[in-house]
């Protein structure tokens, strides 16, 4: 027995059809996975946000976790104040030397050349904390009052 007859006898056409279907299905599945990969990557990048959302949704934070989270927040706040105090001390000296009003990009350039850590972010925090305030003419002033009150904080 040869040719078409042999193929028919051994379910050759059926097997070919199954083979094509398997390959086609695998390719479609693969392409679907690849097309949605960016969503998975986005979820991975924003995993902290999603985890926190899920925690809030299912109220997984028990009293212990809530206490721990509050302590964490307190520690982070204390750390932030300590860091802003340190950078305000450094920038206070720098600004006194530069004179007021001063140029913000120039301040950053000098801070960078003196090796002050993260001068861009430090300046942003000082602006957010109202220690550096705009003079409405494109230059900036040092808020001595805010600096003195920050220096007194423990």
């Amino acid at each position: 027995m040869t040719g078409i007859e042999a193929i028919l006898h051994h379910n050759g056409f059926g097997m070919a059809a199954v083979g094509v279907t398997i390959v086609f299905t695998a390719l479609v599945t693969l392409s679907l996975i690849i097309s949605q990969l960016h969503k998975l990557l986005l979820v991975w990048e924003e995993r902290e946000t999603y985890i926190n959302k899920a925690r809030r949704m299912f109220s997984l934070l028990g009293p212990k976790e809530v206490r721990r989270a509050k302590n964490g927040e307190k520690q982070a706040k204390a750390k932030y104040i300590a860091s802003i105090k340190e950078s305000s001390r450094q920038f206070n000296i720098l600004i006194q030397a530069m004179g007021e009003p001063f140029s913000l990009p120039e301040l950053i350039r000098i801070a960078e050349s003196l090796g002050i850590e993260s001068p861009y972010a430090a300046v942003a925090h000082l602006i957010e904390g109202d220690l550096i305030i705009p003079d409405q003419k494109g230059f900036y002033l040092w808020n001595h009052e805010a600096y003195n009150s920050l220096s007194k904080r423990s």
Binding site: E106, Y120, A121, A124, P134, G138, F139
Partner: protein, 138 residues
């Protein structure tokens, strides 16, 4: 860029007035871009090819003469020169903190504004409002 949270972005002030059809066209042009501290987004005098909308972070617009303003509000815009002749940036923009922006290719955005006058009017009106609320530099 369909992985962007469309609802969240639609609520940005600049896009708030857009009709669903208009929003679909604008949304197709948006790209999300992460920025690192100290990164220079725009250089004064260079050809303006991209328009940015702040999602997160603190940015400094500064000029050659030392003047500067800072922006840190979600929805604030940077690089409007990319849709205004002579398509040349008029200031430098540097990220003070790590952040995230939406970037829009200026030529495609301009094409869209020219194609749809009503959409153009809405966006230009919003841009004028946003720019006028910035710190004034006399």
């Amino acid at each position: 860029m369909h992985h962007l949270d469309a609802e969240e972005l639609k609520n940005l002030k600049i896009f708030r007035d857009l009709l669903p059809d208009e929003w679909t066209e604008v949304y197709a042009l948006l790209n999300r871009q992460k920025i690192i501290e100290g990164e220079q987004l725009i250089r004064e005098g260079e050809q303006a090819h991209t328009f940015f909308i702040i999602l997160r972070g603190h940015f400094m617009i500064h000029y050659g003469d030392g003047r500067a303003v800072t922006l840190n509000k979600k929805g604030d815009i940077i690089g409007w020169s990319s849709v205004i002749r002579p398509f040349q940036y008029t200031a430098n923009v540097t990220a003070l903190t790590a952040g995230e922006v939406l970037s829009i290719p200026g030529d495609r955005f301009l094409e869209l504004l020219q194609k749809n006058a009503e959409l153009g009017d809405k966006l230009v009106k919003r841009v004028n409002e946003l720019v006028s609320k910035r710190q004034a530099i006399d």
